[in-house]
């Protein structure tokens, strides 16, 4: 068939804590057609080669962030990445680094969500609620535009070596979320949030490795947000 890309080898990380003393890689040969994503291939493997393979997926539209995993060494969304975009005929898939493993490609995102919750990811209002929606100038919206698009897939925080060595570090996703509200012209919880991120486990733990910027499947720039927060934290202390 003209739209066939050929046979690809998938080398997939396997670990079942109930059975396996240590992790291993299983390899699967998959016939790939043009347009197939990594998730399509994983579904094919689970459906016809090994039903015990575990991985998360949901929307298949790069919106929910469930299928984030480490593909050929880089974090990405399995539903968004087409096989044809990868070099070579062997594709290695690992779980997201840095998070505790549950089984195969499924990791425990608890730490990640706790860090997001720690920066109060909601609009804080002290003033009385208006009778209509809160308006915002386009220029004010532009300032937080990219940060609003975060889908909480966890790819950025998982790629950060500072988070690997110290899981107490809030990580780029939580800091991006803090930026999204601190720089929102409608928000009134700025000082409270800045006090949370202006901490040794907040913005000052970032070592500008830039893995987060490169890992983000939505092409966001957590490092720019962190730099913006560092400047605000400095202004706050002088």
């Amino acid at each position: 068939m003209a739209d066939t890309l050929g046979l690809y080898t998938f080398k997939i990380f396997r670990y079942n804590p109930d059975k396996d003393p240590k992790s291993r890689y299983d390899t699967f040969a998959v016939e790939v057609r043009q347009g197939m994503t990594i998730l399509d291939c994983l579904q094919k493997i689970k459906g016809s080669l090994d039903g015990t393979l575990s991985f998360r997926r949901s929307c298949r539209s790069a919106i929910c962030g469930s299928c984030a995993m480490n593909i050929n060494g880089k974090n990405d969304l399995a539903c968004h990445l087409q096989v044809s975009r990868l070099r070579g005929r062997t594709i290695t898939i690992n779980p997201l680094p840095g998070y505790p493993l549950i089984k195969d490609l499924v990791v425990d995102m608890g730490e990640f969500y706790r860090h997001i919750a720690a920066v109060m990811p909601w609009l804080v209002r002290r003033s009385p609620c208006p009778d209509r929606e809160l308006l915002q100038f386009p220029a004010d919206r532009d300032r937080i535009d990219s940060a609003v698009n975060c889908i909480l897939c966890g790819s950025c925080t998982s790629s950060c070596p500072q988070f690997w060595f110290n899981p107490r570090y809030l990580g780029p996703a939580a800091l991006l979320k803090a930026y999204r509200f601190i720089f929102d012209s409608r928000d009134e919880g700025r000082d409270e949030r800045l006090a949370i991120v202006d901490d040794r486990y907040g913005v000052w733990r970032c070592r500008t490795v830039f893995n987060c910027d490169e890992a983000c499947p939505k092409k966001l720039h957590p490092n720019e947000a962190i730099a913006g927060l560092k400047i605000e934290a400095l202004k706050r202390s002088v």
């Binding site: 804590p17 992790s23 690992n94 997201l96 680094p97 840095g98 505790p100 500008t208 490092n223 730099a227």
Partner: protein
Amino acid sequence: MRSYRYRWGEGLWSHLFHRISGVALIVYLSMHIWVIHHLQHGQTAYDELMNFLGNPLFRMGEVMLLAAILFHGLNGLRLVVMDAGLGIRKQRATFWVVFVVCAILVLVGGLVLLIGS
């Protein structure tokens, strides 16, 4: 159990070189203080030590010291600029600029240090 497998990019290499060069500079400063303290034992003791430090191993060490100073300094400036929010999207390119400038200066400086001595 957690996985820590990740592809190394320019940012991680820059991070690693920055820390290694930083540790190398601390080691050098400690050695430098140790060498200088020999002055209090008189000129002969100091001259003997300087004579010993003139061997090729330490001459190569000086070239490596130059590399550590240049990379740590230039990459430090790169990080300060990016901490100010500038050039973050060009981090890969700026890493290579720092790397190439360092390589050229170490080559030139190394020749001066080795041949000049």
